[in-house]
């Protein structure tokens, strides 16, 4: 058997298959009948660097997951120590004095919720309008610039928003607060104690440092995130359905309300809830603006508000170990609430028709 007669296929196989010589002789004796075409293994063997890479990647994932779980478990462990001392009164108690064993998150939790809800009620129309404008109304030339500006707004540090709210917004909003409380004061949340419209001595500072002002500032911080999620979803509304609505004679708003908004419902709800999650955790802007009180303050226009994150920023310094545990418990409850809100948000986005494609 000379080398020139050897089958090129068999020679090529000889390079890869281990028992090459045996195969080659068989092929040359009777090429047609004895080729056994075994199915290839779909999984290729890994070489050394590959195995090392796999383990390094897996290891870094493990490190990250360990750190994250450590944060969560440490929070839970510390928090439960304090919870054990406080018992069920942790939910109902309004004051915060861990050293006497009398502490609870009723006031700060309610304050957090009030600030976040105020923020969302401003941020929702603002971001919905901006998202609709960018996706539907804006001229094509400025669309990209607008998207960039809105994203930029999300990148502005929160302390800058806090400064703006404290020094610029707060003095300008006072007359509005006063007006609302004067004419809409019969609605319980707009009522303000300690301010009488007819008393010339009463000062409008009764409206400063309120939940309302903090809520507006947080709304501005939340609106860009919410808006960019909504815009993303609106722009994915199918062109065929849009054109169908227009061809049937719908006005632009008719098209939006019958095609774009139903399509983007998941994005609207999910984006709003993501914004809510961000609003719940906001610290420094709120801390700069409010003057902390430890009672449930449902009058959003009145001076004095609180939130869990502001409580931590206020009380962490010079705290004993047990006080830290108590703060950890408060932080844990904030984390759990944010987690639930975010989880619901991503579920809603994922399940909606528009979210199916975005993942």
């Amino acid at each position: 058997m000379s080398p020139s007669k050897s089958n090129p296929t068999a020679a090529a196989n000889g390079g890869t298959i281990i028992d090459a010589t045996g195969t080659r002789t068989e092929v040359i004796q009777s090429p047609v009948t004895t080729i056994t075409d075994k199915p290839r293994r779909l999984v290729s063997a890994s070489d050394g660097p590959d195995i090392a890479f796999r383990w390094i990647a897996r290891g870094s994932g493990t490190i990250v997951v360990t750190v994250m779980l450590l944060v969560g478990l440490f929070l839970a462990y510390q928090g439960f120590q304090a919870l054990h001392v406080a018992g069920p009164s942790f939910i109902t108690e309004q004051s915060w004095d861990p050293n006497s064993g009398k502490f609870g998150i009723a006031a700060v939790l309610a304050g957090t919720a009030f600030i976040a809800l105020t923020a969302i009620s401003f941020a929702l129309p603002l971001s919905l309008g901006t998202a609709l404008y960018i996706s539907e109304y804006a001229p094509a030339k400025i669309k990209n610039a607008l998207v960039t500006i809105v994203d930029l707004m999300a990148a502005v540090p929160s302390v800058v928003y806090g400064l703006w709210g404290l020094f610029f917004l707060s003095p300008n909003v006072l007359p509005v607060s006063q007006w609302i409380s004067t004419y809409l004061g019969w609605i319980p949340i707009f009522a303000v104690d300690g301010f009488d419209q007819n008393d010339p001595l009463s000062s409008p500072t009764a409206f400063a440092a309120s939940t309302f002002i903090a809520g507006i500032v947080v709304a501005l911080m939340v609106a860009p995130i919410t808006s960019s999620i909504m815009r993303e979803v609106f722009t994915q509304a199918p062109l065929g359905e849009r054109e169908g609505a227009l061809a049937l004679g719908a006005t632009k708003w008719g098209m939006i309300s019958s095609v774009v908004l139903p399509f983007g419902r998941g994005g609207i709800i999910g984006g709003t809830m993501l914004g809510l999650g961000r609003a719940l955790g906001e610290t420094i802007a709120v801390f700069l603006i409010i003057s902390p009180v430890f009672v449930i303050q449902p009058h959003i226009l009145e001076k004095g508000a609180n939130s869990i994150s502001a409580l931590i920023a206020l009380r962490y310094n010079e705290a004993s170990k047990f006080e830290i545990s108590a703060l950890m418990a408060a932080g844990l409850s904030l984390f759990v609430i944010t987690l639930i809100v975010n989880f619901i948000a991503s579920t809603i986005i994922g399940r909606s028709r528009s979210g199916n494609e975005t993942t």
């Binding site: 994250m68 500006i149 540090p157 994150s309």
Partner: protein, 522 residues
């Protein structure tokens, strides 16, 4: 079929005698008058009448509100004026439109105006935040000492010509550098793990990471404070603050990097695997370079978040007024934290310094953001002009190398024989195509020269494409071939651009990049 189309002159007669004899059921009436020339419809989206209505109702609203505020009702305040004027404006605009239009149109116009003004309000808010902060920070920013000194020698009552924020600037840079040194390798490796080694464990890691993006930043700070400072007994330091920033930033970076990596077109990776590359080679030479712009964006945006965050630093760094460049010992401060401590003071100069610091911080963040936009505006696999040129040059050099190997001469000889006159313009036609050919170039040395049959098939395809192109241009769906196709032909006469060697020059790499979706989270 009883349709008569050619008897145009007779149908009335047959119509009269309908029923008595066989009549055509469809007929065309004679053209008694010439077709009226239809007026051209305006497709402009801005209608003159709307503009007139808008201006009219705006003037009326302002006047009416001024009357209300100054004569009729005891109202005051700028914001109140604007709000009342706006409500009146909307009402008047609606009424004006309702004079001429039906209800649906009125609703459409009012909503359009409302949406426009909401977007305007949002932009106005951002503008006012930026302008107000910079405007009040101009005082200290004008003094050079603000950037060269720290606050150790300047008290609250000192003028703005003393003291500065160099300690905060350096502190921020040191902290973010340490945080990035930890979170970039860890974050990118974890993101690669999530996208390249899918399985139950990766899913678990992803769930945990996504849950941790919900962690409020102050809780991250509190965790580091409680573990490092209270329990382990270290002092507050820049390093502790970096760790707090890392804990906060890591989930953000991992999540957005994971999204970017999942957008890398599968066919690129499959091409590399089909050529025999291992997982590691695929990730290193295909996945990561393809997603480079997106990954950079993810990191820069995470950095912007980390720099701007106050609360973790507040708990762990310990504010200081003097310059400290050692992150391991002694308190350190950062720009947001310094802003925060400045504005807590009642003194006007300190507040002005606070605004100046905030302006510096904002400029830093905006520069980072602009950088992220400039780098990451493109999807994975889409290259900038410069990158395209680099890829083309690289693949041309590869071509020289292969030809030199085939001919058995040094590469420089082949390079000399092929002047740089036509630098592979055809390959740069589409960036994604170049990315593909680069992926193919990975192990292309092992490929045999393209067989004549394949070359013939591709040539046939090219011919078919040209025919189609000519047809389309005949139907006016494409520009005339004279300009477009000639340019295409000229540029495709550069066979050096393709990485394949030998006489079997293949056409430019087909544009087979998968549907590169827009990055939803960048």
């Amino acid at each position: 079929m009883t349709t008569v189309l050619d008897k145009r002159s007779t149908p009335p007669a047959s119509a009269v005698t309908r029923g008595t004899q066989e009549t055509p059921r469809t007929w065309i009436p004679p053209e008694t008058m010439p077709p009226a020339s239809e007026p051209r419809r305006s497709t402009a989206t801005i209608r003159t009448v709307d503009v007139i209505r808008l201006l009219g109702s705006a003037f009326a609203a302002i006047g009416f509100t001024a009357w209300l505020f100054f004569y009729a009702l005891p109202l005051q305040g700028v914001i109140g004026f604007v709000v009342v004027a706006y409500v009146i404006f909307l009402l008047l605009f609606g009424i004006l439109t309702a004079f001429d239009e039906n209800g649906q149109t009125v609703r459409d116009r009012i909503v359009a105006v409302f949406v426009n003004s909401l977007a305007f309000l949002m932009l106005l808010a951002l503008f006012s935040v930026v302008v107000y902060t910079v405007g009040r920070g101009v005082g200290p920013l004008g003094n050079l000492n603000f950037f060269t000194q720290d606050m150790s020698n300047a008290g609250p009552l000192d003028p703005l010509t003393r003291g500065g924020v160099i300690h905060a600037v350096l502190g921020t840079l040191i902290m973010i550098t340490i945080a990035l040194a930890i979170s970039i390798p860890l974050g990118l490796l974890t993101a690669v793990f999530l996208s390249e080694f899918p399985g139950r464990y990766a899913r678990f890691v992803r769930t945990v990471v996504e849950a941790m993006t919900a962690l409020p930043s102050i809780v991250a700070g509190l965790f580091i404070y409680a573990t490092i400072i209270v329990f382990l007994g270290f002092n507050r330091s820049g390093f502790a603050a970096s760790l707090a920033i890392t804990v906060m930033m890591l989930p953000i970076i991992i999540r957005s990097a994971d999204v970017v990596l999942r957008l890398v077109p599968g066919n690129l990776k499959e091409a590399a695997r089909a050529l025999g590359a291992s997982t590691w080679r695929t990730v290193w030479t295909v996945t990561l370079p393809t997603a480079r712009s997106g990954l950079t964006t993810a990191i820069i945006l995470g950095t912007a978040r980390g720099i701007g965050e106050t609360s973790p630093v507040l708990l762990t760094a310990g504010a200081t007024t003097f310059l400290n460049v050692n992150p391991l010992s002694g308190p350190m401060t950062s720009l947001p934290l310094t802003t925060f401590t400045f504005v807590k003071s009642p003194e006007n100069n300190m507040i002005a310094r606070g605004f100046g610091t905030a302006a510096v911080l904002m400029v830093l963040v905006l520069v980072l953001f602009a950088l992220a936009r400039a780098i990451g505006g493109r999807g994975p696999g889409q290259l900038s002009t410069r990158q395209q040129r680099a890829r083309a040059r690289q693949s041309r050099d590869d071509g020289y190398r292969y030809r030199a190997r085939a001919l058995g001469v040094p590469t420089s000889a082949v390079r000399r024989a092929n002047p740089r006159s036509l630098p592979a313009a055809a390959a740069t036609r589409s960036g994604a195509g170049v990315a593909d050919s680069a992926a193919v170039g990975l192990t292309v040395a092992t490929i045999a020269p393209v067989s004549p049959a394949v070359a013939e098939a591709t040539a046939q395809q090219t011919r078919a494409a040209r025919t189609l192109r000519r047809r389309l241009s005949e139907w006016r769906l494409l520009p005339k071939p004279s300009a477009a196709i000639n340019r295409f032909r000229r540029s495709s006469k550069a066979p050096q651009g393709s990485p394949e060697p030998g006489p079997n020059s293949t056409p430019p790499a087909p544009d087979t990049s998968g549907p590169t979706r827009k990055d939803p989270d960048a």
